[in-house]
């Protein structure tokens, strides 16, 4: 491929911890071939040198939390042929969306010595609430193998392989013993989009739902079952309100549990 034909890639950050961008940089072995295949035109985490748009692919990390963010994401959308969100913050609002259930001004008063310097929106929202998103890559952080798969598929003009079924499939394929059934550990795996390879259950932890809701989540049923086995309502609400707690499916389920409790 001639160098001028390389598609231009831009990587942006909003409200986030940089973990997903680091996952991209962690591609290590594959990074060199990636640089050969695409032109990294804008990626401040990796290099301060930037090239002007428009870009063929924009990867967006982080959620929208300020008025400037809203303007910036619209400008980015205009400049990008294909816009892809990376990670739980960009696709669901992230862990910082926990503030959406509280009064953000109280947090500001508690945390900052000079609250008057802080200008922020009431809610942390996913990118898709503001602009059209072409593809969402889940995870907190994203799985670098999936990131490479998506970029490879884009370059080769084929559909990326990102199965939307439950984490349980990955658990069973690798032979992990179900932590919920064998140890009574509450696990969000049956509701959660695959992609991590069922990492947490393989370390005897329940799934935290980092990859957000799977294709047809049924959180009310899992919540009812957990309650019937003696897990407290507040624990189930906390479990649903994690890294992707502001996703439609998990939010509706935790709000419902809260309403019943009141």
């Amino acid at each position: 491929m001639a160098s001028e034909a390389r598609p231009k890639l831009a990587v942006y950050k909003f409200s986030s911890c940089d973990g997903c961008q680091l996952a991209l940089l962690n591609l290590e072995d594959e990074l060199l071939s990636l640089v050969g295949a695409v032109e990294i035109a804008y990626f401040l985490e990796a290099s301060s040198a930037t090239l002007p748009g428009p870009y063929d692919v924009a990867l967006v990390e982080g959620s929208v939390t300020t008025a400037e963010d809203v303007e910036r994401i619209h400008a980015i959308r205009k400049d990008a042929k294909c816009l892809m969100t990376i990670g739980a913050c960009a696709t669901t609002g992230g862990i910082q969306a926990l503030r959406n259930w509280k009064d953000v001004n109280e947090f500001i008063r508690c945390v900052y010595a000079r609250p008057e310097y802080i200008h922020t929106l009431k809610d942390s929202t996913p990118i898709s609430k503001h602009v059209k998103v072409d593809l969402e890559l889940n995870g907190c952080p994203i799985n670098k193998v999936q990131a490479l798969e998506v970029l490879t598929a884009l370059l080769q003009g084929r559909a990326p392989h990102l199965p939307p079924h439950a984490v349980c499939m990955e658990c069973k394929r690798r032979g992990t013993v179900c932590v919920t059934v064998a140890q009574g550990i509450a696990c969000l795996g049956p509701l959660t989009h695959a992609g991590c390879g069922a990492l947490c259950p393989s370390y005897n932890r329940g799934c935290y739902g980092c990859f957000g809701p799977m294709e047809n989540p049924n959180p009310d049923s899992l919540a009812a079952h957990l309650l019937s086995t003696g897990v407290s309502r507040s624990h189930v609400i906390q479990l649903l309100r994690g890294f992707t707690g502001y996703s439609d499916a998990f939010r509706a389920a935790s709000d419902k549990l809260e309403r019943i409790a009141q």
Partner: protein, 374 residues
Amino acid sequence: MSASLPRVSASVAMPKGSLQQVFDNLRAAGYTLVGPTVRDSAIVLDEIDGLDDLPQGWTDEQQPAHYRLKKAPDNQYFSYGVGPHSWKQFLHPSRLRLFSVEKNNGSWTIRPSQEPPPRYAFIGVRACDVAAIGIQDRVLIGSEFRDPHYAARREQVFVLAVNCSHSGATCFCASMKTGPKVTGGFDLALTELPDIFLVEIGSEAGAEVLGDVPWEAATAFDLGRASRVIQRAERQDGRHMLTDDLPDVLYENLESPQWDEVATRCLSCANCTLVCPTCFCTTVEDVSNLRATSAERIRVADSCFNRDFSHVHGGNSRPTIRSRYRQWLTHKLASWIDQFGTSGCVGCGRCITWCPVGIEITEEVNAIRAKGGK
């Protein structure tokens, strides 16, 4: 005494410690031993070396969505039921590279997967699982369309079966007429008694493995004790399923309100299909490198509970959880019979124990029958 080899179909008594000698003989004959062992709070199936790896003195407690490993009141080797794993993970692995392709100097080379399949000796196969292997044999190698990967593994397997002495609260092998006694499809079948193993010889290969092992012809007393152990297990079966009116009762109730009811509970998580020893569906994933110079095709376990499974040109033929649960249950218990001549269920109870919300196939069939007025 064991001057010569026992006859096929004979039963002999063997000291318990001699099972190690049987294992050694199998290994000497080139087999890789897989059997039950304790790991991650459960009795799983994995490669084992000897008697010490078996879950001696362990048992399990099973209920819908509930499994607990527990100390057994006795110190036997096989005082537990089937666990989360089944033998299909060795015969029909959940992940298998089918082939890879590579581009060199402008032309493509195709490389079939070269890994020679291991020669497995399965240790401690229960009656329901012997039946399940028989069902997968029909499906995967029983017609002109043979799965060569399954065939290569299956053809060299040695089956050391065990008659169940305890059945679990989620078992219903007696209803499905598959257990708890193993009646065929084995090389050796053990019944564990407090002092000895009673060994039934199922094949020439089974007799040969007993080679230098000390054995005596089984006495009427031993045979009586063994059959009482198996009868006790049969009485313990925790679940029952009336099969006389299957498959008709399901075909007549395809619009039963019970399908809507179960869909409110089912998570469509696919656990039931993946733990089921007869479910066989797979899909393929093609993986290519960034420079498009190499690719591989991987076969992975799939499930009718996944959306993409029923995605066809123009849309999805089973878009709801209701339609997927109905597909699973009616295939297992009804259309499987039309398709392959046997039920797709052997009554092992795994789908009941390992469903994260404890949906019971037996109870669903009862509810459908009750709501259908039958």
